[in-house]
Symmetry: C2
Subunit: 391 residues, 2 copies
């Protein structure tokens, strides 16, 4: 007979999932009710208002997709891209490549703009790309590249896209709740995020928001959205607070309890305070990493505070370091992804996991493991440097 599964207690400082606030885990274990229960419908309305608060938007269509961030990405592309549509995809990491896949599977034509991995998307290049592709209809880019830790200037990129008559699709999986994000002020037309990063929820939900211009393109489509499950025309019938809720699919009730609680926690702290906390903990982490003599992949001015890609020193066994951290310290940091596999570690400090204790413990553990392996670092200096940064 199979035994119940009791997971180890980890500290999650990789690219996500990040540590889940115990309040959220408790909320998820509350009694399940029906997806059309008036009590549940009231909770859904609160959640939409809370997500608007988190995204800094007034968009009526702001809700969680009932599946992970990859499905949130797909919901943006399958609804907005019609066969033959030209979509400029600015790629500076793994997730831009996934956007390309989405464009092409939706029947669109992807115009790829490549920027170096570890750098922000170059607005000047976007300007040029759009000049040579005047028939482009959409610009898509990743605000916070989880594979590299680079953040792009979404406001400037959206402005350029709009100047050329394009809608924008923005990946904010890692930025929502962790660093400044202003959907309305920056003019983002469609955006998706994930539950398991700076919102400190369990993975499995993808908050999205669409403004009126994006919704108009969805409503004006002449072809059906290729996905029934993600067709916003249908999903809205369930999530729209305007009238009677029509059954579309059965909502993931308890996961939504968790997201509601996560957003209540965010509102309690204040989203701007939350951004500041991530930034302060980043500064301490940076001080420790630099004191060790390690280097960041991304220049400071383009770096996400919540996701730090650090170059693996010459001769150090990537997998051995990560597995020692996991097995001896129960600490998870992330491996490199795509072109950066084996070359970097990704140290996340997201949401509930972004706190002084974690920063100091992570630095202490990394210092100990690298020292024990004879890695070329300045031993024993990281923690003191980080402590000093907090004073």
């Amino acid at each position: 007979m199979t035994q119940p599964f009791h997971p180890p207690q980890r500290t999650l400082m990789g690219p996500g999932p990040s540590d889940v606030n115990p309040r959220i885990l408790e909320a998820m274990s509350r009694p399940t009710i029906g997806h059309l229960d008036p009590a549940f419908v009231g909770m859904m309305d609160e959640m939409k208002a809370l997500l608007r608060y988190a995204f800094r938007t007034e968009n009526a269509l702001t809700m969680p997709i009932s599946a992970p961030g990859s499905a949130g990405m797909e919901s943006c592309f399958v609804n907005l891209v019609e066969p033959g549509d030209k979509v400029v995809v600015c790629q500076n990491g793994v997730f831009g490549g996934r956007m390309k896949e989405n464009v092409e599977r939706a029947g669109g034509v992807a115009i790829m703009q490549q920027d170096p991995w570890g750098r922000a998307v170059d607005p000047q290049k976007l300007e040029e790309t759009l000049k040579t592709n005047p028939d482009a209809k959409i610009v898509a880019f990743v605000h916070a590249e989880t594979s590299t830790g680079a953040q792009s200037d979404a406001e400037t990129l959206c402005k350029i896209a709009h100047d050329h008559g394009c809608l924008t699709i923005v990946d904010a999986v890692t930025s929502l709740g962790g660093s400044p994000l202003e959907v309305d002020k920056w003019g983002i037309d469609a955006i998706y995020s994930g539950s398991q990063k700076c919102l400190s929820c369990t993975p499995g939900l993808s908050p999205v928001s669409f403004n009126d211009a994006a919704l108009k393109k969805v409503r004006d489509r002449t072809t059906a959205v290729q996905s029934w499950f993600l067709d916003l025309n249908l999903v809205m019938g369930y999530w729209d607070g305007g009238g009677k809720r029509a059954y579309h699919h059965t909502a993931p009730i308890n996961a939504l309890y968790g997201m509601h609680e996560a957003l209540v926690v965010l509102e309690e702290e204040g989203v701007e305070s939350c951004w500041t906390r991530h930034q302060n903990n980043h500064l301490a982490l940076r001080a420790g990493i630099e004191a060790m003599g390690l280097e960041f992949v991304v220049p400071e001015s383009e770096r996400l505070p919540q996701l730090n890609a650090v170059t693996i020193p010459e001769g150090v066994d990537d997998a051995a370091v990560r597995s020692t951290l996991l097995n001896h310290y129960s600490l998870e940091i992330g491996a490199g992804l795509g072109d950066l596999a084996g070359k970097v570690w990704r140290i996340g400090q997201m949401g509930y996991a972004s706190n002084e204790k974690n920063i100091l413990n992570c630095l202490a553990a990394l210092d100990a493991v690298l020292s024990s392996m004879g890695a070329p670092i300045h031993q024993g200096e990281a923690v003191a440097a980080a402590r000093a940064a907090y004073r």
Copy 2:
């Protein structure tokens, strides 16, 4: 400030979600770990084995899709249907209609076979449909129609489909764990289910299983699967136990803890004992419903024990009955769906909710509410009749 959401404690006897076993709720609140953590990967392997047990299959590709049953349905159609493929869809309720949507959005041609709502799919008609459509490639039908409570003879339908060289896609959202289902013995090629019915999990996951013939069609495709998120060629890279796990999307960790626990519970009881329990509780419910003078929509020989559609008596206010049950008895029963909206109630007794206490309480509450409204029923007889059925 928004307050935490504390749901009422309901008894869920609608079409699902059904009551969740407290063991499962507790399991879901265990600490989140990474989706590539060796401990998690071990749990995934156990889960695949447990799902094979539940589905009665040896299929290697047996796993949960990271989204609700509607996405499980879509995963079957977008992977197996290529543009131009002819798919016979046997419709006898709401979910056959959803299958048609899926076929068409995947670029296939849906040949609809209509059977009366509330009846099983007619095998004789399928034989004829396939004779007149010798180029059909797939037959799709709903084993357990959640909208009506009818179960079809999946074994016979699969045999006919295979005799005509077709693969089969079977909807088992409501049958898995609640009534006999034999994926290998019946020759089902691709099947999907849901977590929130007879497995007593929270909604949000969709167990699927594909046999070698189905997988061959996926692998031999000449066109890309239109959904990146549901592309089995990619999903398998993460779930396949054969080699290294490749990151595809971030798995819904805690929801999977819940499903693992649900399957451990199923194994402890034994899947055949579980079927018998549903049948015995159905017989008691039937005795009570008939003692009241109410009628079932589906003939007994085609009726699902776990989902009972009961005709609303003439002159009775559907919505008032359901809201009184919800508000006074905290009991949820289901409304009619599609063509049966306003005409039937759907009384589910699924998984953890399938027990004597619930059956008696449901009958007592329904008796009380209908009596108080002056409905034409035999008052005060239902509970005694159900009790007698248990002896």
